[in-house]
Symmetry: C2
Amino acid sequence: MAVHGPAMTDVARLAGVSHQTVSRVLNGHPNVREQTRLRVRAAIAELGYRPNGAARALVTGRSQVIGVVAQNTTLYGPASLLAALEQTAAEEGFAVSVGSVRNLDHGSISAAVERHLSHRVAGIVVIAPVESAGEALEHLPKDVPLVTVDGDPSRPVPLVTVDQVAGARAATQHLLDAGHRTVWHVSGPSDWFDSVGRIDGWRQALLAAGVEPPPLMPGDWSAASGYRSGQMLARMPEVTAVFTANDHLALGVLRALHEFGRRVPDEISVVGFDDVPEAAYFIPPLTTVRPDFDAVARASLQMLLAQIESGTGGALRQTIAPALVARESVAPPRH
Amino acid sequence: MAVHGPAMTDVARLAGVSHQTVSRVLNGHPNVREQTRLRVRAAIAELGYRPNGAARALVTGRSQVIGVVAQNTTLYGPASLLAALEQTAAEEGFAVSVGSVRNLDHGSISAAVERHLSHRVAGIVVIAPVESAGEALEHLPKDVPLVTVDGDPSRPVPLVTVDQVAGARAATQHLLDAGHRTVWHVSGPSDWFDSVGRIDGWRQALLAAGVEPPPLMPGDWSAASGYRSGQMLARMPEVTAVFTANDHLALGVLRALHEFGRRVPDEISVVGFDDVPEAAYFIPPLTTVRPDFDAVARASLQMLLAQIESGTGGALRQTIAPALVARESVAPPRH
DNA sequence: GGCGTCTCTGTTAACGCTAACAAGAATTGG
DNA sequence: CCAATTCTTGTTAGCGTTAACAGAGACGCC
């Protein structure tokens, strides 16, 4: 490797100015003569000079990097969020450093945050959809800008979240509106706030309609667990409508129903959550709820940047409403 | 924000040593008295001291960060790769900074790489599955450790790649072995090396069996395009076996076949590629080819670390063989 | 007992940048 | 036309760390 690139002083020498003037040009400082500015820019171009982020970070105490802590970035939700976050950050001139963790326990999260802190990131976004993550965040230094996404609504931490409750309510209501007596729910893992919120919304919609919620079918986001729940649901003749906590669960349910010869939507209607790109090509095309990940990313980054600039650590929160996407997996019940 | 954490000198003062001794303890330098080492560790713990990565990067000229350039990190392949890379990197004490780009054209890639370089990353992994990416890499400074994943096999750049050709050959052969006369192929975008390799493998298998390959059905990785191809395939009675370049294309094909009443696998067999977690829950469960993303990540990181440590920029390449996963979407043809 | 050789620790000088101050040149106002 | 401003540039001092050297004891050996 060896050959280090040119430094600011090299540019300065070539342009016949002091390194400080180069610094001023680089940082868009106003009081630089136009002619000088051009000379400096030319020198920068000629040498292929690239400012050293480490040096800048050292002296300013803060790098142009945002740390993201996430668990399983292969899941559709987190992956989309991460991608959106990265895009948005890039537009603001920030790089994104990922620190994914295997488990969302206290230790793992703290460790990931520590790693970010030792790199002196400008701020941290925690995609921390579970209980234990919230705890870990309580013990963090208070002076680092931090935003949680899909985190614990009951904690005094800046939070951006998809309105799980509203989404689930809409999904359930959509099924009730179609004429179904009640709606069954295949949920996500119980320690995820996403799950909790979706269960909540489902319950609310049913109770508002005067219906006692049927027993919950717990799942773990995977098609496999949806399949297991589906096998049970398929055997219960009274089931006519199912709301699953995500699209992959729905896929498993659809598959089980198909195997048992229960036709969707003729006999049973199904609604998912997430609107993965493939949902429109399930058999049948899946009615689902689409969270706006871009909006979530934009909101969280904005919140984070506000903290970074102001230095205050306000505990705002912002909720992004998801939209129902109607497709063919819902129909009125046959009587 | 304000309050900066303690620095090395603070630790040194508390432990009653010089800051250099603290540095030595931190870097595991051998010549430190055990007693001193303990005193320093105690002081570090007491102050909650965290080394400043920026300062370290400045003086060593290299940070413990690996830059990753990728395009669409919401696609299953890239997302899995990224996650695996991040895991592996973390185990080696490296953080991962993502620089995703909208388009894989020359400019975007260069810009992403530049961003990484200005942060003085230790090395760069480019997940660059298209032609134009390869070009961009040619004009990069030669002195930065770099590994491409799924890149251009014809370029003299360190490369780790899934053996697309072998995977496609296995998939096609699997269908031929089941008794099918020929195999149709729904491909990915033609500028992706993944696509090209898979097309190649498919052709090879057919030609080796003495079969003239039928016309290619071009797609773009999405279920939507698979659906469009599926609609055409469904109308052609002579089609009995289809190999799609990924599982989402297969999903679209399955859906189209289902709509046209063509039963899978009774009338038509389908094989995908990727083995997304949901593939086992398609209707019917999809036979597919599973690339080992962990292995790819491990291999690329190893290659990168070797370059970082040795300082040489060898042009190795490594190919990871994928495995066929047989499920129910393949059966012998009816005659 | 003197002298070379370890082992341990401290001192000093970078790394490349920004912030703070200083100072000369240009401009303004009376 | 001179003093008071404003614009433009340069000089100096760190930021927190590692590297290079230097020095003080402890130890072994002839």
